[in-house]
């Protein structure tokens, strides 16, 4: 058995020993241990080095509030930094090491910082490293970062699985200590849906370290009985190892569950789970954190909180040392002293800053044979890596100085209590307000903003009987609030209550020299190495607001967020400012309560589940053909189909020529499609498109541009009249949902009088677009009964026909400038159609082409792409598409804006074609265009290149650009300065091929 492990007692399983490594050394602990308790059992107090001064640091607490004992676990993908040893459940084979220590925790080079501590005073970031300015990024910051360390980020992917779960309940109980358990049971008995979450492995909270009994049975047994009672209710969900980390609006709470951490890493299944809870009522029963006293060199290893010392001995059967001193300003440490003495520690004395100790608790301690020294304080500490002795001196009556004879007491641990701070984090996150309770010397909940109640220690009720009573009351109130009938009231559990003597707030314990003088340091925030002197200096320097103080000194930052230090820090600020604590206030608590892993936040949104990959019915064919895909919104669209190791350009050249000279096919299924029905359908289109729709014949198609109210192009597409009151609109792929939303919004809010119904049919149709001079031949074979002559089936019309045995709609529209048929069948027949087309197409040399070829072909024709030629600042006129804007219609969306002076300017950026002087040069898209060939920046920019390609058809490059006054720059030369070179370009009309449109008819 390890040296400091008692042979009996505690909640550990001595039959299940576990081996672990810490800083390279092997140790043994037991099932039920935390890493901290197992280290203490082995006499290891020194677990880390501090942030700035690299002072040796030990374990201070037994829970979430731990400021010092930060460790990193495991290696490789399982490496995890910033864990609190006090919360890490021991498992067999665990490997941990200290942070902030290099090369080792025993010999730490950074400790030299301690000798230069004058450099590291409050706000040192802003003072010491100011000059020269250029040194900050290159020299100071990297060095500070390395020295401060914190933790390293893991460098490998985490192999474990994390996920998320939504949950709903009537009552969420945060914390399963005495108050939480009572609240949960009352809620459960009323039939409520209850969630009980507790961050620890076992329910019970403070009761797990309690020696007294409840209802005549040991506290731990009572907890187990409560847990079993709760578990029997079908609507109760019990979640141990689950921290409520965030409290957001409308009673939405986030919880982090550690499902398998206690078993080790790589256990399979889900390691950690993020719960997203919507609770009708919340009972906060989050307990309280003990805070230290701020005395000289109070950070030495071996000095820990009294409640923690008590928890270690009672819950884990571990002695914090052999010989201890208890130092306190309140009664709770007396219980620790009594329990420690009972379980084999020698308690030399209880040092109480209060002038007398006459209360019931003091009498109990005396009866247990303990010596109490009243009106005294620890004025100094001996020992660096472990406390060796303390110096006790009488306190002056005002508590400002120590004087008189100094008594030296040898000890190897000190148990300290400066009082208790209710864990009001979640209440504060919820928007609730606090008030300072002078008598209890702590902040307590004052005003609730959301549907919650605080009960027990987190409400400032620091005695067991009160916590049980408040918990029961909160549970009953919660079920009543959700409309349930509370169960019949039962008697509260019976506990022994010792009346507590009042606490005596002593925010700074004077040392032998005034605070800030001499070598001794009075630490307030151990994690951030902030001392009382730092806070006093900051307030002298004008940082009077507690929020400023926090940022200037870094007090309350870091992984513990000042759980043990905040109240001491602001009390010292208040003292320095001579301003009462309530008017100094507290900093705001923000989520998370304790750190949450990135894995938990990411959940399953990783790898192939990180986003939706929308695929068309023909996707499998594209994959089999080796297509390279392009992301268009969430869609995967074939970009090009490389053959025999072709490059993008080679493949696109081949695909382009195949369409221009033979026949090609494009999967166009992704276009948005909206079915529009109703007697006002044509009028509706008149209002949303810039051109006129009333006279479109049935079975005919028309291209339309849709503007926003500001007159800027929003979307475009072809709409077909299927019947007198029935249209099918197509939209761009990326805008499909946005267009439907906008149109539906107009119908519901602007024009509710219009009788029009919209239905999305984007996904209903699969579309194969066959284009090229040989398209008619191929389609003729597939649809032998259809007359494909230009007279019978002209450009911009639609026919219903049987294609390859499938009922289809064929649209004769063209985005390539070639004779083109877009064949549509229901999605469930898309692949059948595609395969049938290829079966027939083989003899015609049918070539599949992707979006890149589509882009080149349409650019050759000067067809725009919304989002490429437009960017929300471009009108149809800017695109040279005056023809599409009706001058006769009384109104349409965007019309009014065309007469705005800026929109009506004639020298706006306008769409032009660009031909580089050197036909081999392809301009980069986005390149800026200037009037002069060789200016020095900054020089006026005329605009930018919107599209640019190599055109295999033309054997040269082509580009489109938006440039100022483009219409008047025809045939002039402009320049594209590219840094390494400047390309001269001729401004031309943005149509490069078949400007008369002869090819459309084949």
């Amino acid at each position: 058995m390890a040296e400091f492990r008692n042979s009996s007692g505690g909640r550990i399983d001595r039959a299940r020993p576990l081996t672990f490594r810490f800083n390279g050394k092997r140790y043994q602990g037991f099932s039920g241990d935390t890493l901290a308790s197992a280290l203490l059992a082995n006499g290891v107090h020194l677990v880390g080095r501090s942030f700035k001064y690299h002072r040796p640091r030990g374990i201070v607490t037994a829970g979430a509030e731990e400021p010092n004992a930060l460790v990193q676990l495991e290696t490789g993908g399982y490496f995890e930094p910033n864990l609190r040893a006090t919360q890490v459940e021991l498992y067999d084979g665990l490997t941990a090491s200290s942070q902030n220590a290099w090369p080792s925790v025993d010999f730490d080079i950074g400790a030299i910082n301690g000798f230069f501590s004058k450099l590291f005073v409050a706000g040192f970031y802003y003072k010491t490293f100011m000059h020269p300015r250029s040194f900050w990024m290159r020299v100071y910051e990297p060095i500070i970062r390395r020295a401060a360390a914190g933790a390293r980020a893991p460098s490998e992917a985490d192999p474990d699985t994390y996920d998320k779960m939504h949950a709903h309940c009537d009552v969420l109980v945060a914390g399963a200590g005495p108050a939480g358990l009572m609240a949960a049971l009352e809620a459960a008995k009323a039939g409520a849906r209850v969630i009980v979450a507790d961050e620890q492995a076992e329910f019970g909270g403070s009761l797990l370290g309690e020696t007294s009994g409840i209802d005549g049975i040991p506290a731990a047994q009572w907890v187990e009985k409560m847990r079993a009672d709760l578990a029997a209710f079908p609507e109760v969900r019990l979640l141990p190892r689950t921290t409520v980390t965030g409290y957001y609006d409308h009673n939405y709470l986030i919880m982090a569950e550690r499902k398998t951490d206690h078993l080790g890493r790589g256990m399979g299944g889900v390691r950690q789970r993020l719960w997203k809870v919507r609770a009708k009522r919340v009972v906060l029963a989050t307990g309280a954190h003990e805070r230290p006293l701020v005395f000289a060199d109070n950070d030495r290893p071996g000095i820990m909180l009294a409640g923690a010392a008590r928890a270690y001995v009672n819950r884990y059967g571990v002695k914090p040392g052999n010989t201890g001193v208890v130092f306190t300003n309140n009664d709770s440490a007396y219980e620790a002293a009594i329990d420690l003495a009972k379980t084999g520690c020698r308690i030399e004395a209880i040092i109480d800053v209060r002038p007398q100790a006459t209360g019931a608790m003091a009498q109990k301690a005396r009866a247990a044979g303990l010596r109490i020294i009243c009106g005294a304080a620890i004025a100094g500490v001996e020992g660096a890596k472990r406390v060796k002795a303390v110096e006790i001196a009488p306190l002056s009556s005002d508590g400002e100085t120590v004087g008189g004879p100094v008594k030296r007491i040898e000890c190897d641990f000190v148990a300290v209590s400066g009082g208790w701070t209710p864990a009001v984090h979640l209440l504060s996150q919820s928007g609730g307000k606090l008030r300072f309770d002078e008598a209890k010397a702590c902040f307590v909940p004052n005003v609730s903003v959301q549907a919650e109640t605080s009960a027990g220690a987190c409400n400032g009720t620091l005695f067991l009987e009160g916590a049980l009573e408040e918990g029961a009351k909160a549970g009953r109130a919660a079920v009543e609030a959700v409309g349930l009938m509370p169960a019949q009231e039962s008697a509260l559990p019976k506990v022994e209550t010792v009346e507590a003597a009042p606490i005596h707030a002593l925010w700074i314990v004077p040392g032998k020299k005034p605070v800030g003088h001499g070598k001794a340091k009075h630490f307030v925030d151990a994690q951030n190495d902030v001392t009382a002197a730092d806070i006093m200096l900051a307030s002298r320097e004008g940082y009077r607001s507690v929020e400023h103080l926090k940022r200037y000194t870094t007090t309350g930052m870091g992984t513990d967020q000042g759980k043990t230090s905040n109240v001491n820090a602001l009390a010292i600020l208040s003292r320095t400012l001579s301003s009462p604590i309530p008017s100094v206030g507290t900093t705001t608590f923000r989520p998370p309560y304790t750190p949450v892993t990135y894995g938990t936040l990411a959940g399953r949104d990783v790898g192939e589940l990180s986003d939706v990959a929308r695929v068309t019915p023909m996707h499998g064919w594209h994959v089999a053909r080796g297509a390279v895909f392009e992301d268009v919104g969430q869609w995967k669209r074939p970009w090009y189909y490389p053959k025999d190791g072709e490059s993008l350009r080679e493949a696109v050249n081949r695909e382009c020529l195949a369409v221009r000279n033979g026949v090609g096919i494009l999967d166009a299924s992704t276009l948005g499609k909206i079915d529009i029905q109703g007697p006002d359908a044509a009028e509706f289109l008149n209002r949303v498109y810039t051109n006129a729709w009333s006279k479109l014949g049935i079975g005919r198609c028309r291209y339309g541009i849709m503007c926003k109210e500001d007159g800027m192009v929003f979307d475009d597409g072809v709409t077909t009249r299927l019947g007198e009151n029935h249209f099918l609109m197509t939209t761009t792929t990326g805008n499909a949902a946005a267009v439907l939303d906008r149109l539906e919004d107009y119908l519901q809010t602007e024009w509710p009088d219009l009788k029009v119904y919209l239905t999305s049919v984007t996904e209903h149709w699969a579309t194969a677009s066959i284009a090229g001079p040989k398209a008619r031949e191929l389609v003729g074979e597939l649809a032998p009964d259809l007359d494909l002559s230009n007279d019978a089936f002209p450009f911009m019309s639609m026919k219903e026909a049987t294609v390859a045995g499938l009922a289809a709609r064929i649209y004769r529209i063209s985005f390539t400038g070639e004779l083109s048929y877009e064949i549509n069948v229901p999605a469930y027949q898309g692949m059948a159609l595609w395969e049938a087309i290829f079966a027939a197409g083989e003899t015609h040399g049918l070539t599949p082409y992707g979006t890149e070829t589509m882009h080149v072909l349409r650019a050759e024709k000067g067809f725009i792409i919304v989002g490429q030629e437009t960017d929300g600042t471009v009108t149809p006129f800017d695109l040279g598409m005056d023809w599409i804007v009706s001058t006769k219609k009384p109104d349409f969306v965007g019309k009014r804006s065309f007469s705005r002076p800026d929109t009506a300017r004639t020298d706006r950026k306008q769409l032009v074609g660009l031909l580089t002087e050197d036909p081999e040069e392809v301009l980069p898209e986005g390149a800026q265009i200037t009037a002069d060939a060789d200016g020095t920046p900054p020089m006026p920019m005329l605009g930018h290149v919107t599209s640019s390609y190599w055109s295999a058809t033309l054997g040269r490059s082509i580009a489109m650009a938006l440039i100022a006054d483009g219409g008047n720059r025809q045939d002039t030369t402009v320049h594209a300065p590219l840094g390494v070179k400047t390309l001269a370009c001729k401004v031309v009309k943005p149509v490069f091929f078949d400007s008369e449109g002869a090819r459309l008819n084949g």
């Binding site: 939504h166 589940l609 929308r614 499998g620 239905t759 999605a827 469930y828 898309g830 059948a832 049938a836």
Partner: protein, 201 residues
């Protein structure tokens, strides 16, 4: 021969997962859970004004069941279900292939009224998830409260499952749920569900 190759079987309907389960049945199990893609049902989107008695009566006559007007409820007819999607919008799910006749019947019965009947059979895939932990599986990606007291057999909702919009409908107390993602989201939704089911294996 060439003709045969050029002609597809018009009666054959490819499921949305035919790429992932080539030729095979899209179905998977994990412990007590079963997830299957159902044969592509006929899907008709119906729009109209339910407070117009003529509309409601004509629909009821053709479908033989009441038009559900309570939000997120489902009415069952012979071999179809009628899902409430909005105050003036419903989705009719029919036996595969029955949608054309049903559409025609509705169009005829509603002649002269303002309505919209749209064949959307290709719009969505239909998955069925069954088994005791089904509710928990869905809770991993759906923020609705699926507790039986809040969402029971006969109820439906349009919601998000992870990153995909779906129509969700509870079909029995096993519980079994119909999950209808848009067809292009089907592969993602399937993969996501399979992944979420893994812990119950």
């Amino acid at each position: 021969m060439a003709d045969a190759m050029m002609t597809a079987d018009a009666g054959e309907r490819a499921g949305a997962l035919s790429r992932l389960f080539q030729g095979g049945e899209a179905s998977t199990t994990a412990g007590p859970l079963t997830l299957s893609e159902m044969p592509v049902p006929g899907q008709i989107n119906l729009r109209g004004n339910p407070s117009d008695a003529a509309f409601a009566e004509a629909v009821a006559k053709v479908l033989g069941c009441r038009l559900p007007v309570a939000a997120n409820t489902v009415e069952k007819g012979g071999d179809f279900s009628l899902l409430w999607l909005g105050p003036d919008e419903w989705l009719v799910l029919t036996a595969p292939g029955a949608e054309a006749e049903l559409s025609a019947g509705l169009v005829e019965a509603l002649a002269g009224q303002h309505f919209a009947i749209t064949d959307v059979t290709g719009n969505r895939a239909l998955f069925r998830l069954s088994g005791t932990p089904a509710r928990e599986v869905l809770a991993k990606g759906c923020s609705l409260d699926l507790h039986p007291s809040r969402f029971a057999t006969g109820q439906c909702a349009q919601t998000l499952l992870a990153r995909s919009g779906i129509i969700l409908s509870q079909v029995d107390d096993a519980p079994s749920y119909d999950i209808l993602p848009r067809r292009s989201f089907a592969e993602y939704t399937w993969r996501w569900l399979e992944d979420a089911m893994a812990e119950y294996r």
